[in-house]
């Protein structure tokens, strides 16, 4: 059995989770501070990938990054190509998973007690220190939940990836595109193997979330 799709899926999911983690958190933090109208508009734009069909997202990405497009050509001159490469898979997974991280992080930040931040400031703590050492630990439940959701979504990404990246065995194949490809070519046994593997990974992820949530609840309970 060719294990490439597993490694490829994991590297795409991990890399895009890291990207989405930082982008989502900073978007959530800075957008929360903006005036209402701008906030509303940005919120809609940033959440769209969540509700749009993934193929539509893929289509937009093709319009933007296609080799004949201005941006795509500019990147190509730099030796970067997203169409038909696994790096393109990181882009599609990030775009699709971003809203999950952004929205959960924003919810978590909104529940943050701002007086903690003010008291940190009057104690002479820098805003960076307050962000990473007080705000993030306080909101960690939401942040962790968002990251896990984003990771799971990135791992299962199919639609946009199939548009931008396609399926090339040993080059861009992921678990989800492999399942489709094997089933299409009548290899049901091969597809089943990958389906079972996918189920196992999802179960482990959910298990980790549950364990973390339990720890979190104990911590929260102790707080009261």
């Amino acid at each position: 059995m060719d294990w490439f799709p597993l490694g490829n899926s994991l590297r795409i999911a991990l890399l895009s989770s890291v990207i989405v983690f930082f982008l989502g958190i900073f978007a959530a933090y800075y957008i929360a501070k903006l005036p209402k109208i701008i906030k509303g508009v940005l919120d809609v734009i940033l959440t769209l990938p969540l509700v749009l069909p993934p193929t539509v997202v893929g289509y937009f990405l093709l319009l933007l990054l296609g080799v004949n497009r201005p941006l795509g050509q500019l990147l190509k001159e730099q030796g970067i190509q997203f169409v038909m490469t696994w790096q393109g898979g990181v882009i599609t997974a990030s775009v699709v998973a971003f809203p999950l991280m952004y929205r959960t992080a924003r919810g978590a930040f909104e529940s943050f007690d701002e007086t903690l931040s003010y008291s940190g400031q009057t104690l002479g703590l820098s805003n960076t220190y307050i962000f990473w050492r007080i705000r993030m630990p306080y909101c960690r439940q939401g942040i962790i939940a968002g990251s896990v959701l984003a990771f799971a979504r990135a791992l299962g990404e199919y639609g946009a990836t199939s548009m931008l990246v396609g399926y090339t065995p040993g080059k861009t194949a992921t678990i989800s595109t492999t399942v489709y490809q094997l089933w299409r070519t009548g290899d049901n046994a091969g597809a089943t193997k990958w389906v079972l593997l996918n189920l196992a990974i999802s179960a482990v992820v959910l298990l980790i979330v549950n364990i973390m949530e339990k720890g979190q609840n104990d911590w929260r309970r102790a707080k009261c």
Binding site: D113, T115, L116, Y118, S119, G120, Q121, T122, L123, G124, L125, S126, Y129, R133, I134, P137, Y138, A222, K223, C224
Partner: protein
Amino acid sequence: MLEVKIEKKVGSFHLRVDIQTKEGITGILGPSGCGKSMTLRCIAGIETPDTGRIVLDGVTLFDSEKKINLPPQKRRVGYLFQNYALFPNMNVEKNILCGLHHLKDKAEKQKRLLEVAELLQLQGLEKQKVNQLSGGQQQRVALARILVNQPKLLLLDEPFSALDAHLSSKLQIEVKALLREYARPVLMVTHNRNEGYHMCEQMALMGEGKILTHKGTKEVFASPETITGALITGCKNIAAAKKCSDYEVEVPEWGIRLETKEAVREDLQAIGIRAHYFGPKVKSNRYSVQQTGMMEEPFEWIIQFKYVDQNPQSKDLWWRIPKDRFPGEMPEELGISPVNVLCLYSEAEK
């Protein structure tokens, strides 16, 4: 020394604060939403006034004309929040020391920790999680965390309101002793007049974004100057009044004239009489009264009454008397000593 002269508009609310304080504890007493906390936030740099100046010990913290606005981190102003704002993810020691995290000298840190832990009786609690502390302990940790940074000014925002009554009075005594030792200016806001009276040497009354009066605490209560001031200090009986002569006023609503101790100014608006200050045996300002109601408290009677010639539409007056001094049945007449007739003037004057 702290000098504050600021203005800030938020919606229809207009904050106009002009106050100077020296050493010791100065209180700002006022109802909820009068702008007390916003004033503290402006001084600490959490909020920015529209215009004005804030100067602490010769250092300009804020000046709208010179475009100076120091960030809270550089102001050296300690701020005790109403809910203490301890960081739940850190234990007591880390909470106290986080303000010193830039300090590399571990021995110095430890020394400062020991000092404040002793001052605030926190020995043995260093490794505790803050969520396992009682309300009083949380307050002491919050104070320790502030004092370890050696601020030049201390701001206390309703410091006792999160505690139950018994603990609150015990802590007021402790905190007052501590702050006396600390010998830096302290500005404390509260809506509780007893708390303010216990703690503060100087007192400012605040109503609707404006400082109405600022003087010694006792003088503020003896002469609150304005109707709002009288209400804030807990005066129950207030009625419109006119000047008759230098030491006499007429209260049409109550159908009586009252003799005063202080000379009455032309712009008199109203008079106030505290519920405790009526006396069945007082000879002056004595008029016939009729009881209209009664309310029992653990140690006092509250008696509602009207003067015989009082406008029937107007509100009842309140008389409070300790149970052991109540004469048994309602006296026919009540008097008021002239010194207890509070003359109240227009706020625009100030």
